[in-house]
Each structure stands twice: as C-alpha cells, then as structure tokens.
Assembly symmetry: C2
Homo-oligomer: 342 residues x 2
Amino acid sequence: MSAYNVALVGATGAVGAEFLQLLETRDFPLGQLRLLASSRSAGTTIRFKDQDIVVEELTESSFKDIDIAFFSAGGSRSKQYAAAAIAAGAVVVDNSSAFRMDPSVPLVVPEVNPDALTGHNGIIANPNCSTILLVMVLAPLLKLAPIRRVVVSTYQAASGAGAAAMRELETQTAAILAGNAPEPEIFPHPIAFNLFSHNTAIDETGYNEEELKMVKETRKILSDDSLAVTATCIRVPIPRAHSESVNIEFVGERPSVAAIQSALAAFPGVVVVDDREANVFPMPLYASGRDEVFVGRIREDISCPNAIDLFLSGDQILKGAALNGYQIAECLIERGLLGGKK
Amino acid sequence: MSAYNVALVGATGAVGAEFLQLLETRDFPLGQLRLLASSRSAGTTIRFKDQDIVVEELTESSFKDIDIAFFSAGGSRSKQYAAAAIAAGAVVVDNSSAFRMDPSVPLVVPEVNPDALTGHNGIIANPNCSTILLVMVLAPLLKLAPIRRVVVSTYQAASGAGAAAMRELETQTAAILAGNAPEPEIFPHPIAFNLFSHNTAIDETGYNEEELKMVKETRKILSDDSLAVTATCIRVPIPRAHSESVNIEFVGERPSVAAIQSALAAFPGVVVVDDREANVFPMPLYASGRDEVFVGRIREDISCPNAIDLFLSGDQILKGAALNGYQIAECLIERGLLGGKK
C-alpha cells in the first residue's frame, strides 16, 4: 500500500492540533510527517505517535517530497507559500479563505461535492466553518426539492478565532466570576457572558466577511449561483461548536417533515436529534468533539407555505475545519488525485 | 396630586425585585405598597426606601384598597387571584401569559399601542419579553411601510427563567471552570458554555410555546392578524439581556437603511447602535441594566429585494418585563384609566 508524506503548516494552532490528532488516531496511510510554523514557533516539539517531532520554520523549501500540504496558518501564509508547495509536487489543502472563491480552485465538502476535486490545479480549498455545517444540511434537502432562499443566523463558538480565543473565553469568564473586569485581548469585545456580531470587516452592503463567505461559498459548493442566502453571524460564549438557526424556502412545494428527517438521517455525517416530546435537540455541548453535524427543530414554517425551519450544531474545529480537510485528503487518495510519486 | 396604592404579587422574584427598584427610584405617585408572595416567602422582609416591608401571604383578601396590582408570580397565580384584585377595585397588570391572548384583555407596550388600554376590563397583560423587544423595533418600521413577514432567531438570557436560573448560570459556569460537571437543576440542559432550544412544550406544529407567543402576541400588539412571523427561540449563556436576529420583509419596496435608522432613532425607547467602521453593534452586556432596546446591523437583505436584516439587544428583566409593566401603570395613571378611588 502507498504511503503519503504530509506537511502541516500551522501545526501549533487549534486546527493544526486537531488535524494531527486525526492523523494519529485514524487509518491514514502516512509516510513522513513534517510540522511547519512561523519562526516564532519553530524549534518547539510536538508529540506524535510516541515521537517528538520538531516544528520547522516554514520556508519555500519546506515541501520537498511532500505529497499533501495542509495549510492552516491564515490567508497570507497560504498565498505566500502555496505555490512553493505545488512546485514541489504537493497538493495543497488550504483551510484559509485565500483561494476559496478562485474559479480554478475546488471548494469541497467531501460528502457534498467530491466530484469538484477532479481536475484540480494543485490547491483544494477547505470552506469556511459555518458554511460547511450549513451545506451538510442543505445538500440532502436538495435531493428532495430545489431551494430558493436561505435565511441563517449563527451562534458561533470562540474556537473559530483560534486557540487563544478559546483560552480568552475561559480566563475572562473566570475573572468575571471572581469579580474582575478584564480587558479583551483577542476579541474586540468581551466574550464572557456576552455575544456580539462577528468582528470581521463590513463592506458597503452592510454584511461582514463571515456572512459573505456563507453566501458565496454556499453557492459555489452547491453549484447554484442563483441560490438566495442571507446570513447574520454572531459570536457566542461557547468553546468549540457552532450552531445555526436556518429558514429554508423551497422553489415549489416543501417536502414533508418526515421526508426531510429521513433525507438528513440518510446523509453521511449528519445526525438527526429532534425529540419534541423530551425537548432534546442539537446542542453545542454535545456536538463538541464529535464528527457529525447534528440537526433538529425541523418544522414547517408557519409564516411561509414553502419554507421550513431547523437548527443545527457541529464542531467548528472538526467538521468545520480539520476533519473536513482530512476528509479532502482521504478523498484525493481514494480518487488517485494526488500529483506526486507513490 | 393623587397617590396610588400598589400591590406586588411575586415580590421576591427577579422581575418583582426590578419592579420594586423602579418604584423606589422613579417618580411614581406611590401611596401604600403591599408585597405579596406564596406562603413559603411570606414573613420575609424587603428593604424599600429605608423601610423594612414584611412580605404577606397572597390570598383573595390581599387587595383591599389597592389601585394597581402587578402580578409576576406565574400564570396559575394570576388566574387564581386576578379576579379578587379586580373585585377589590384594583387594575391588574399581569406579567404572566395567562390572559395575553384573551380578546377582552389589552396586550400593551406603551410606546407601541397605548390606545389599547382604553376600555380595559380590569386586566392589562404585559407581553412576553422577546415579543416586547421585537415590537419595539417593528412599530417604527411600520410607520415607513407595511410588513409582510418576519423571520426571527433569538439569543435569550437565563433571566427569562427567573432568578434561580441566573444563579444556575453563574454557579454551573464556576463549577465547570473548576473541573466539575454539575447536574442541571433549573434548566433541563447544561446552560454554562452551552445553548439550547427554549425548553417550553412543543405542540403539533413543531413550534415551542415561546415561539408561538412571539408569533401570536406580535400580531395582537400590532393589530395585524395577517402578519407572517416565524421564530426560533434559543437560550444562551448570558445573564439578563436578550438578543434577536431579525429578517423583515416588507409588502412592497423596502425603505432605505437611512430611513430605517432615522425612524428607529426617533422612536422612544430605541437606540440605534450601528457603527460598521468600528464594528460596534448591540450587545447584551451593554444592554443589561438599560431601559432601551438597542438595534443595529441594519442592512438590505441581499437574498430578497423587499427585505432587511437587523440585530437587537434589550434587558429582559427591564423592558422585557418589569419596566414595561411599570410603564403600563404610568400610562394608566396618565390616561385616567384606574378604576378605584383617588
């Protein structure tokens, strides 16, 4: 069996750590593993399968003999170093937003649009976390009926802003309980016992970048430029799983709730949690650390004859980032789409 | 000047405490104050304007000489004792859901529909907290253009479930930070670092009671039975201010964002916080303890030519409950709508 050499750019971040965990615990045909980070983190060691691996500084010559380079170190590093990785024969799976809307770059959720991988040019983009969770639920519904419009409000965890943001949620909460009022450091506003509009830049439309990612990336992944999407993205004091309240209007008659539940339950990576009697529905606490996207509160919208409402939760670091990237790598291998040597 | 005798049913609860605070600090023409609660709380004393007032047990004879009885002790107590208060000559301002949808009972937000008070039959219903915050924003928009449909997702604070729920948020959060995993007591699910669908009963439509309150009460307050509303109500780990993400579709052409901002800013009790440059919008932390409803993220919905999106935060205990009830009492006095002696 072939083995593949993997480089991990951003090995010391929250998503990098989860990606390593996946490589360590799952059945990946791993050859060499090279851990890369900025000069600041270079020289530190990371424990992997009973070995201490030294983190190397990311440079243009970091990718010799690498088959798959997973980038999770921000858009500017992806832009700067992806070409070097490709030139060295690697396929780049990029977790940043740098290439997502590039028409020549596939934007892939393996359960949803794996065929988009075919004919890639060396880069595969891993979608925005909120978008991945949303399309995991829209894709099975599209098998039932075409969708006209999606209105989504998010409840986004601290983890989307990185490991330091998760620590800030914890330390700031502890400080407030102790009667102190610490200054925010990572987030622009207090995150403990508070929530706020996602703090990405807002353009002339009034939407922030996170919201526009959900609009544009959803259309690209689902190959439907006419799909109408509006999103309001809110950061909540939750560690690592996102939730979304979603209103979905179909083009024609809406499918029955039973048909929707069946379609969702049959879709790989989706779990229906929809117990009206016991009042048990998706919750970020129980979605944390889990691979699946949990969906419930599925009901006919009483305000619109063609629409439904539902609510979902999913782990932002796993399916929202590292796991989806890992699945892209698996899918590339399965389909023989890696460019390099075997 | 006349003075009015006030009875407060539920004096020891979160809303009762805030109502007392309003009576103490604002310019209310208060005569006698009678504090009422269940036999469990009777006998305790509450400090009010440098006096210790003994809490009395609520009975049918509790309302002698009372002009205004504010009830905030749950629907069953309202149903059991409101008639006795009215028979004694008091006007009941009821914070429970017991009478809200009774066609003979006005459901009032004083800034929105004060005229509904005229011709009351002894009971005025104080609306559901989430509904009050929503109609405070819908009412000024209705002056600009008719509204067809509202899609709202809430971010509801612990306070909506009472003072014990607020304490549970705090103690459970502290326990989790200390490495423990306490059993939920007040809420059915963990509230610390978690969120969940509002835990009221769900009917055959799939909506929970809180959501149906938002649908039905909004229509009643705005006197528009054809207004289409869908709501998804979510409890978040925030102490005492609710937030709402609201999509509003107008019947015809939508007003401009500037016109909407002006109309909202001109409406009493509403503050526009909408600084796109600085990324400052309504937040529950800053809405807590404040009278006003804060609204921002006002933008044209890119998914629908007649719709807009916005986001609001407001104190659940104040404008969502005690303050609105207090304002109803003020409004009754101003309009000479108290039945009893002066």
